[in-house]
Amino acid sequence: MTGLDFRPVFARLPFLLGGVGVTVLIAGLAFVFGLLLAVGLAVLRFENQGIWRRFSRSYSTALTNTPQLSQIFAVFYCLPLMGLMVSPFLSVVIGMTLNAAAYLADILGAGMARVPPVYHEVALTLGLNRRQTYLRVILPYAGRTMFPALANHFQIMILGSAMASIFGVEDLTGRAYDIGSTTFRILEVMLVTGGLYAVLSFALTGVFALCRRTMERMV
């Protein structure tokens, strides 16, 4: 295989690197909002209230069994029909948030089920109300035991955010495609992009390991 020429790609490297920021921004926003929704969903599931519990369960089942791409397409095409004109960036973030909430609720729910019953009793004895019990006892415990799973899902979301390029968002993959179509060096640029994603992901693994160690020292 001859004719690989990386020079045009390296000449546009700063533009490509800027895409890393957009990728992290999309995944980060969707993760934070998804986590907020997921806390709500997980609490609904944990409090034994018939219909809401079933709603939370069905939400996760429905959204974890359909592709994120189709969910974003549904948001992208259906929000304007409801009179909401949102930018592609925002519809990708909304779609990814809804998707992330389903997975994160499953993770948090599993974490909450693992909180020893003694914790609930202690919270009750201390006279904490329900809000305090969740915010100060159950969620911190679930968050800590589930940290590896949450971090892993963030990595999955970084990879998933590459879908944003399909909707015209200038994230890492989107910019790579741009460079590819102006320089006709698409294979080279995609190889570099793949490398950048791998580096980003390895870096995140390091950051999460550091976070985990700091957290363990704090406890």
Partner: protein, 217 residues
Amino acid sequence: MIAFSHYDIALLLQAMARTVELSLGGGLLGIAGAIILTALRLSELRYMFPLRMLAVLYVQTIRRIPFIVTLYIVFFCAGMMGVDVSATIVAICSIGLIAAAYLCEIVHGGVKTVPVEQVEAALVLNLPLWARWRYVIGPQAMSAIVPPAVGYLVLFIKDTALASQIGVVELSQAGVILSNRGLPSAQVFCAVLLLYFAISYPLTCLSRLLEKRIAVH
């Protein structure tokens, strides 16, 4: 009011068949690849060392690259090398490449759960290599491999949606086509999501059942 004509429904069903084809093809390739990669990683021969390192590097790196980027790389690589294959084959190969890496982690992890005494006992009994794998390691590793492997295959089904980007008309692309034809978007995307659910949900249930029945805790 349902706005689909029977041509539209035929398109959706054909696209669904394509999605199943992509998942099955990719999954089977992935299983084959995973077995080869695991064999490389577990080999203890000295001259296999570079291959062993390559296998580890492959598994660690490919799982950190988005599926769509891998898909583009394989697609344009095939084009550049002058290999004339359909987009479907390219998509199946890419899914297989990625599935191999993920499944290799699962298979490798599963084999490692077999207690080392079991392997030593089999060695002492002078069982040949194939008998060690067939009667001692295999059956015990299976319970740690099958449930998560089925879980991952469910994830791959949803990744096949990205094959639309290299021109494969599968379920999600059919949704876009119908929506662009002027059918009501809400109905079209509901139908697409429901069809994906119909493929994926039974497998999710199967994975949960296997988790309960045979998984090691």
